[in-house]
Symmetry: C2
């Protein structure tokens, strides 16, 4: 692995609106237990293990959850990390996370807090890609058939082999990501790759990992 | 539930090429055990339970697997079904399955054998939609960000809220599906909805179920 310093931003800003199928849910999914650790603890430890204990890791949380997480994480073997407050949209949360990283990181990895199964192999693959190309966006084939929704209420079949499902961690040279996040917010920013592209850069895709799932509904946790 | 007679075609034609990440695999995924039953047994029983024991259920298998499945399924409480031989592509397999159904079914449901978690609620929802609109194609939101692949090797962000992931069972009025499957095969036929659309019909989408997953890799079974 390249010895350039890597900073990690883990976005755990969700308030769980989609969880429990719309029913209000007191414990957001990033705080649920998964085996011996909260989901977010697995996520943090995966990066500390893959990149080294001295890797700067910033976790972005809603302000209302920061004290809760500090108390919860102190009770488990969760690697050292800094907690910062999120913003109204994912874009603002990532921007806050980037600002809290040390100035001297050369690469920045941005990862979803609710992807706790990220493997060391996947992190290494993304780092190698970013070292070689400046960016790394892990993708996997789309398993289900896809349909596009039309404006008139109809729909049409879409050739799924021409699409990829995007995962995280997404890695970028630090200067590029910092510059991209100085743009004004746009609702078209769905992930970091879209922000970097809007700033005029192209991104490089690399092979993701089907096991690196995003936990979005209750059943995802039951199945782990 | 509507009392019109429903026929079911379950496609279990895969030879497991994608399983085990490309390593040759002696037991295709539809025959693997999932709790007390083989995957395909769960799938068959879900339809028999939702639609009644007298529902005609045709299971389409590669010819090399038919005897194996008959021997295996006889050892478990698997509902009554007919086995027919598949063809070179999913299109030909579904066509063979349709031909083996009784002439008097009014609706035909086509389902992937490797979606064993299909619920009674989902089947009922699809039947209601097909009774009302003639067709039913269950879809769910796309969880991951999507990128489209460009011909030059690049890629571009795609607004995922304008897409849906397609599941099965897909239901159609029997005359419509039989007529559609008389068309010559085209590689653009990725599911039954695309075959029916190519015959000049429109399809109606209904709400799918995120738990109704398609088992495509070894880890999907481990997680169940």
């Amino acid at each position: 692995m390249d010895t350039r310093r890597i900073g990690v931003v883990i976005v755990a800003g969700g308030i769980g609106r989609r969880f429990s199928d719309g029913v209000a849910c007191s414990v957001p999914k990033q705080f649920r237990m998964l085996g011996a650790l909260p989901v977010l603890g697995h996520t943090i430890n995966a990066f500390a293990q893959a990149l080294g204990r001295n890797t700067p890791i910033v976790v972005v949380l809603p302000s209302a959850h920061i004290d809760f997480w500090k108390n919860l994480s102190a009770r488990f073997p969760v690697s050292r990390h800094l907690c910062v407050e999120g913003g109204p949209e994912r874009f603002h949360s990532v921007a806050n996370g980037i600002s809290a990283l040390p100035d001297d990181v050369a690469l920045i990895a941005v990862h979803d807090g609710v992807r706790p199964l990220v493997s060391g192999d996947l992190i290494a693959r993304c780092v190698s890609c970013a070292v070689a190309h400046g960016t790394a966006v892990p993708v996997v084939p789309v398993v289900d058939s896809l349909r596009g929704l039309d404006e008139n209420g109809g729909s049409h079949v879409v050739p799924r082999e021409k699409y990829r499902a995007v995962q995280t961690p997404q890695l970028f040279e630090a200067w590029m990501l910092r510059e991209a996040y100085r743009q004004p917010y746009s609702p078209t920013f769905t992930d970091d790759a879209s922000v970097v592209e809007a700033a005029g850069h192209t991104v490089t895709l690399c092979e993701g990992d089907r096991e690196n799932i995003k936990i979005t509904v209750e059943s995802d946790l039951k199945n782990l």
